[in-house]
């Protein structure tokens, strides 16, 4: 019995993160019971940047603030809020920077146009080659 209790305690122990003494927020590392809602929350969390570890998404980060963000996102999705409205709420506070999802902002137009331009260039080159080949 004691052994089982000790093992249970070991399960509850959180790795020392040296960031804060508080345990993680309730929904930081717990899935929403409704699978469809959890999928929505997870998809959003994977595209929101962690403010502490800036090259990670909050889904990957162990930072305490990322945990608080995950918990808040899950709670808001459970309350019926749409992921995109949570994303724009965050962007209104932290700027485009906080979202990994590219937007249609003018500064990103070259990014969206690049595949089309490169494909066009490729076709042009191909046409030149074929023409030369048929002439020969």
């Amino acid at each position: 019995m004691k052994l089982i209790l000790a093992l249970l305690c070991a399960l509850l122990a959180v790795p020392a993160a040296a960031q804060t003494a508080l345990p993680p927020a309730p929904w930081a590392d717990r899935q929403i019971p409704d699978a469809a809602q959890e999928r929505k929350a997870k998809a959003l969390m994977e595209t929101i940047r962690c403010l502490t570890c800036q090259s990670q998404s909050i889904a990957d980060s162990g930072a305490s603030m990322a945990g608080d963000m995950r918990s808040q996102i899950r709670e808001r999705i459970m309350a019926g809020e749409q992921p995109e409205s949570i994303r724009s709420w965050l962007i209104a506070r932290y700027g485009d920077w906080v979202s990994y999802e590219p937007t249609a902002a003018p500064i990103l137009w070259p990014l969206w146009a690049a595949p089309v331009l490169l494909l066009g260039l490729g076709l042009l080159l191909l046409r030149g080659r074929i023409k030369r080949r048929t002439r020969a």
Binding site: Q19, T20, A21, L22, A25, L51, T52, Q54, S64, M65, D68, M69, S71, Q72, L90, A92, R93, Y94, G95, W97, V98
Partner: protein
């Protein structure tokens, strides 16, 4: 035309080299500024974080006089480092309120006992919810709130001794 075209790869290559070089040598700015500067303080009500200071709500900032809102935590080392500067600001007559992030009352009490207590009111934000609502991304941060309850300025990181006159200027500007 064909003769010019032969230089195109080289030109492209040089363009990329230029792009990477500017990216490499540009000083790194990883500070995330809140987009709410110039806008009203988001509404919040927080419980008291310390035993001998009252709780904090956003409505208490509409006083007609600018105040500082310091975001700190008892577990944050730079927060301890900025404590003497906050004390100096308090002695200069500045009213300072605070939000303790992911904290617990005994820890806040211990921190204030050790490093001094320059705060009028301290709210406890146990799950960083108000911190997110403010567009704040870490501790410590200090917001200058004008008398109408609008965010006038955000200072990111600890207030150093040479930042104090600048903070006082910002407070004067927010009058």
């Amino acid at each position: 035309m064909r003769k010019l075209l032969i230089w195109l790869p080289l030109v492209l290559f040089l363009a990329f080299v230029g792009l990477f070089a500017t990216g490499l040598f540009k000083p790194d700015d990883r500070v995330i500024h809140s987009r709410l500067v110039g806008q009203p303080l988001p509404a919040f009500t927080l419980p008291a974080a310390a035993s001998d200071r009252p709780a904090l709500a956003s409505a208490q900032f509409v006083t007609g006089k600018p105040r500082l809102l310091n975001i700190f935590a008892s577990w944050c080392v730079p927060c301890a480092a900025e404590a003497p500067q906050l004390m100096a600001l308090k002695q200069a007559g500045v009213e300072i309120d605070a939000i303790a992030i992911r904290d617990a009352r005994p820890d806040v009490d211990g921190f204030l006992q050790r490093y001094g207590n320059p705060y009028a009111r301290i709210g406890l934000d146990a799950r960083s919810a108000v911190q997110m609502a403010l567009g704040s991304s870490g501790v410590p941060e200090t917001f200058v709130i004008d008398g109408k309850g609008r965010i006038a300025y955000q200072h990111i990181g600890d207030i150093r001794a040479d930042d104090v006159p600048m903070i006082l200027d910002r407070l004067k500007d927010a009058q």
